[in-house]
């Protein structure tokens, strides 16, 4: 069993008016096998948390800690975190022109697994992972995220999650921009990885749409850079019924 522990995390970004604190003491513990949802209105700091965990240079940690089984995650470089088993499905995956999906996936899998998979079994593995997500085989030859539709980008993120088999996966707004069918395919992809029972998942979303496809055990509500409410799946139903108003103001200093 592995534990991802976020303790009193403070994060700031550089803005026009100087440094701006976005996360103001976030606490969250995820144990392998669990699935958590972080919900909150736009601008509450959800993506900031995701990027800070992944080590994006724009997000400066000013306090607190993140550990994986006691190991200091914040001390690791971006790629070390990924190799240690942390995965972030991004809200806005980046285009990398001229780098084919197949080259990217193989390079990434080689880095995370620590050795290059044998070519024949790798091709089989990649093709079947692509078929599982209803991704056309021509996808492999396209440049990473270049000209991808919103749905293709999200499928590509979950394709990577499946191949990299992380210890902890943070999925940032993976449901946004998906139609009903694509949402089903992507959710099934996530659920296949979850079925292994080993991965700890954090679903970031501002709607409850995804939570009807991927069952969660814990729901956390974020507002103004803090977790302001926590509970079980019933909390999501409450948000669905009454919106975020009831939480806004609660636990917010100043």
């Amino acid at each position: 069993m592995t534990e991802l522990k976020i303790h009193e995390l403070h994060v700031e970004v550089e803005s026009d008016g100087g440094p701006k604190e976005i996360l103001r003491g976030v606490n969250l513990t995820v144990v392998s096998g669990q699935t958590h949802a972080i919900m909150g209105p736009n601008g509450s700091g959800k993506s900031t948390l995701a990027y800070a965990l992944a080590g994006h240079p724009a997000y400066r940690i000013t306090g607190g800690s993140v550990t994986m089984d006691g190991e200091d995650v914040l001390d690791m470089s971006v790629d070390e975190r990924a190799r240690a088993g942390l995965f972030l499905a991004m809200q806005y995956p980046v285009e990398v022109p001229g780098v084919s999906v197949s080259n990217f996936l193989r390079t990434s899998v080689t880095a995370v697994r620590g050795e290059a998979p044998p070519l024949r079994s790798w091709l089989k593995e990649m093709r079947s992972a692509m078929a599982d997500l209803n991704v056309d085989s021509s996808f492999a030859e396209r440049s990473v995220n270049e000209g991808f539709s919103g749905g293709e980008r999200k499928r590509h993120e979950i394709l990577q999650m499946g191949l990299l088999n992380p210890k902890f996966a943070v999925l940032d707004e993976t449901d946004s921009g998906l139609d009903v069918d694509a949402l089903k395919v992507v959710s099934e992809g996530v659920n296949r990885v979850r079925a292994g029972g080993e991965v700890g998942v954090v679903l970031i979303t501002h709607t409850t749409r995804l939570l009807r496809q991927i069952p969660v055990e814990f729901v956390h509500v974020m507002w103004q850079g803090r977790i302001v409410a926590e509970g079980g799946p019933e909390l999501a139903d409450e948000i669905e019924a009454n919106g975020y108003e009831q939480f806004i103001g609660a636990g917010v200093a100043g």
Partner: protein, 373 residues
């Protein structure tokens, strides 16, 4: 849409090309101090060493200066190319017979044996009507070389040409790359400039009949102190021809400097012309400077398509972050991003061995060391 900047003067007469002051449009970006010896009207017996093993059906012959004039794709475009024509003492001619087919690439290695004395040179490649060939030129070693490369692609012929400039750091190379494309003929040329203190290549593209297709690509990687200038002038003087110009450059380090000037002229009679040109430059740090000047001049109302684009930008750290967030090391991520940037030029190199060689050279420029597997 600017007027084409290149002078239309093409001549063997040196009087047409007085020593440049630097104020001339075509010389204003040039590294004139480095080029100085190549602007002086002085004979030299300096020669490149040819290291080439040719198959039997390919003939490489020495021809006289007069013969070279008759067969060249174009007269010289500037003082350096006029001097090269004057002092080169004839030319090497690679003659590809009409209707011949060369599935294997013809590789010519030209090696500089020292900066002194200056080397004047001329190489002619003549692809007969209906023939099909792939030719690779590799320049290496140390030299101050003024060289004209002339390529004539006969009617219905097809040529893939790659020229790799991978000189030593103290070398200087300037010259005219003249190409002439016959009726319904096709040329794809890829210039790859990686090494040398200063390299300045002026490419002209002329058409001999309708239906000609020119795919003009270039890739360069300029390091600290290196100055690379590529100019192309596509002269659409025939109807229903096509040109596509793609130049991609990466620069890193103090005083790394590049210039790209792409001129396309569509003359009044060149109806149905289709042309596009693009230059993109990638600045890997704060040291370099890249100039990029596309000029498109259209003198007919009937074009099938004409456009240009040019952009110089900093390295995109978001791309590196994305790749690293998938476990890929920073060094490997930068390698992928830069090779990805060059992909559409690299894809134009049809010879796998040469493509791999160029990729390795780009990796070496990045300081990337391939792990032995």
């Amino acid at each position: 849409m600017g007027q084409v900047s290149m002078s239309n003067a093409r001549s063997y007469d040196l009087a047409e090309f007085p020593p440049p002051s630097g104020r001339e449009e075509v010389w204003r970006f040039a590294p004139r101090a480095a080029l100085k010896p190549l602007l002086e009207d002085a004979p030299s017996d300096g020669r490149l060493r040819w290291e080439t093993t040719l198959s039997e059906d390919v003939t490489l012959t020495q021809i006289t200066s007069e013969q070279a004039r008759e067969r060249a794709a174009s007269a010289p475009v500037d003082r350096i190319s006029a001097l090269a024509a004057k002092h080169a003492d004839g030319a090497r001619l690679l003659d590809i017979q009409a209707d011949a087919s060369h599935p294997e690439p013809i590789v010519l290695d030209l090696v500089g044996v020292g900066r002194e004395p200056v080397t004047w040179g001329q190489v002619l490649i003549d692809v007969g009507a209906g023939a099909k060939a792939t030719v690779v030129l590799r320049f290496s070693g140390a030299a101050q070389y003024a060289g004209n490369l002339s390529v004539v692609v006969g009617d219905n012929a097809s040529l893939e040409l790659v020229s790799v400039q991978n000189w030593s750091d103290d070398s200087v190379h300037a010259g005219h790359f003249a190409t002439r494309i016959g009726r319904d003929a096709r040329l794809r040329s890829v210039l790859v400039t990686l090494g040398g203190e200063a390299v300045r290549l002026v490419q002209t593209v002329d058409y001999d009949g309708p239906g000609g297709d020119a795919d003009i690509r270039g890739l360069f990687f300029a390091d600290a102190g290196q100055r690379f200038e590529h100019r192309s002038f596509v002269d659409h003087s025939q109807p229903h021809c096509r040109s596509n110009v793609v130049f991609k450059g990466a620069l890193q380090g103090e005083r790394a400097r590049s210039v790209w000037v792409g001129d396309v002229l569509i003359r009044a009679n060149a109806v149905g012309t289709q042309t596009y040109e693009i230059n993109r430059n990638l600045l890997l740090d704060d040291g370099p400077r890249a100039d990029s000047v596309p000029n498109l001049e259209i003198l007919t109302g009937d074009v099938a398509g004409a456009g240009h684009a040019s952009a110089t930008g900093r390295f995109d750290e978001e791309q590196v972050f994305y790749l690293r967030s998938r476990g890929i090391s920073e060094e490997e991520a930068r390698r992928l991003v830069v090779l990805g940037f060059f992909a559409d030029v690299l894809d134009g190199i049809d010879v796998p061995m040469i493509r791999a060689e160029v990729m390795r050279a780009v990796e070496a420029e990045l300081g990337y060391r391939r792990e032995v597997q």
